[in-house]
Assembly symmetry: C2
Homo-oligomer: 372 residues x 2
Amino acid sequence: MDYETPQFFRVIQYAARADRDVVDMVSGSPDWDPPDALREGLHAYADADPDEFQYPPSVGLKELREEIAQRRGVDRSRVVVTNGTGEANHLAMAGGLEAMSGDEILLADPVYPYYAGRVNFLGADLAFAPVAEDGHLDPDTVRERASEDTAVIVVNSPNNPMGVTYDAETMAELVAVAEEHDALLVSDEVYDHFDYSGRFASALSVDSDHYVATNAVSKSMAITGWRVGYAVFPDPDGPHGDLLDTARTRHMLTNVTGSRPAQAAVLHALRNTGPEYYEGVRSLLEARIDTFTDALDAAGAAYTDPEGAFYVMARFPDFPGTFENVERLIDEGGVAGMPGEAFGEARADWIRFSLTTDRVETAAQRLVDFFA
Amino acid sequence: MDYETPQFFRVIQYAARADRDVVDMVSGSPDWDPPDALREGLHAYADADPDEFQYPPSVGLKELREEIAQRRGVDRSRVVVTNGTGEANHLAMAGGLEAMSGDEILLADPVYPYYAGRVNFLGADLAFAPVAEDGHLDPDTVRERASEDTAVIVVNSPNNPMGVTYDAETMAELVAVAEEHDALLVSDEVYDHFDYSGRFASALSVDSDHYVATNAVSKSMAITGWRVGYAVFPDPDGPHGDLLDTARTRHMLTNVTGSRPAQAAVLHALRNTGPEYYEGVRSLLEARIDTFTDALDAAGAAYTDPEGAFYVMARFPDFPGTFENVERLIDEGGVAGMPGEAFGEARADWIRFSLTTDRVETAAQRLVDFFA
């Protein structure tokens, strides 16, 4: 598969050209409001002194790193502020591939396509561990697929595209697998605020030098275009302290530093946004999940129980999730989802629906009409 | 030299710890105001609809690319908006190294240290062409130093650290050298608004598929921390059209996209800032240049005639530009500059002074007192 060109645009463009009204459930961009404090923070920054418009430290504003470090319970020295989770994953994957023995990066199947594209771009070998029947990644499957050639293992919880959340035991086992193979686990936790199961556990809950935890406020504050993310690297004084050094150098020589208006506003928003904002968004999404899964039941579809993130993976009877069928569902059903085959082989028959639209009810009704 | 860790911080920190008042002429961060329209643009964006907070196109906001393309007289397809000139140079250098034959990247000496750091990070061989007596880069020297092993040549005009501007003939010849060796010229033009000679010429004035022009508004709008830059690649339908493709992929898999608040505000500022803003800043800097070079004359220093950017390279009698002497000048003279040796060998005896402070007069008087 050509992971270098993620296929989202292909489907979005097809839907936009359709001869009828279509509910877009393709993109992962939130449609809800950011915290009020984020807008306030950007207004305040727009009036700042000119010296606040100059280079922040390469690793990010000190106060922002401190705020992140305190929230995640780690030392500030381990935190590098990045241009979104995208760059955080890039730094972790590229650095892990260099530092660890082996030439292979192991991903879950189905996979967020950017991971696979990055593996190809880095010139690494690509390996996959298929998820279990329930949509979860079984650490034993990862253990079987991993080998001495495995340098990096990338996981994502709450998971895109499966919509499941990995618990503490799973995360501990995934870190253990990385340790067994002297590999680096990259744990992308960008959906950590979107856990409906109550079972989310960060890799940071595990005491180990074999992982990098990556994250961003892109989803949690509904600002995917602002590009404020971070990576938490192993203890700089530990056995894999070189990972942090290399990441800092790569970050400096690639980007110099991240964009300061976004960093300043996010710092203000982190400090001035209470839990009710995140709870409100979760409630909104839980209502959408209920509406949508009721429709899937009525349509006779199988689906993975949504526990996290904001995606539902569903399989319709005699309607595999090919690009062709997805285009048919757009034209004849008026609903656009992502073909399972865009995420790999393990769920090629499924279709991923993103709950990032206020028209979930319309989509639900249309699916019932089309399939039932 | 350890180009991976640019030495600016070492000097800035030394100056900050000094037991006396010190005029900081080390950093290249403007101390003047951005255009008013930039602040207006950021305020307007802070009130935008949530969908404007989501991912812009990976290559940058369409209107911003259009505005840039129109100003530079190129087709929009050739423009990639980047995270500052830093990323633009990274994309151009990494892509040129892959696409062109040879393993070497050729730089001017003295050099902006990030270029050299990036060459080492990319694993390329490093070669230098020393500047001429007058501080200009003689294309014939570049021609002599280049070989079939040269994949990329990086130049910068107006130049940091020399403070000179290359004219149209020089740029045409530099492009010709790149063509002769089947190399890629990377022309960093981030100081293009700071030309006092009237002779600045962009690489874009040359018709060739052998260069990438890089730029940003970091200096021209006094916002080094906002990270809005761009690269103009060769015609995608020409013999080196693959450079654009590779850069788009590298950009997407490294950063996904640039930060949208900064892009939106810069777009507004580009549309609503007249030439008087840029003229005003140039006048301010010309006055500082006069004040400072008068003092250098009085101090018996040699210096390169400032034609562009905002740096003055000076050599004091019996006072070579070592770190040791720079620290002595901080402690005993109360002025902090950058040691010439931080930029390479060709001007190791010189000291670079950045005119990014409103205390140039104080610094000038102190230099006279110290040296005269």
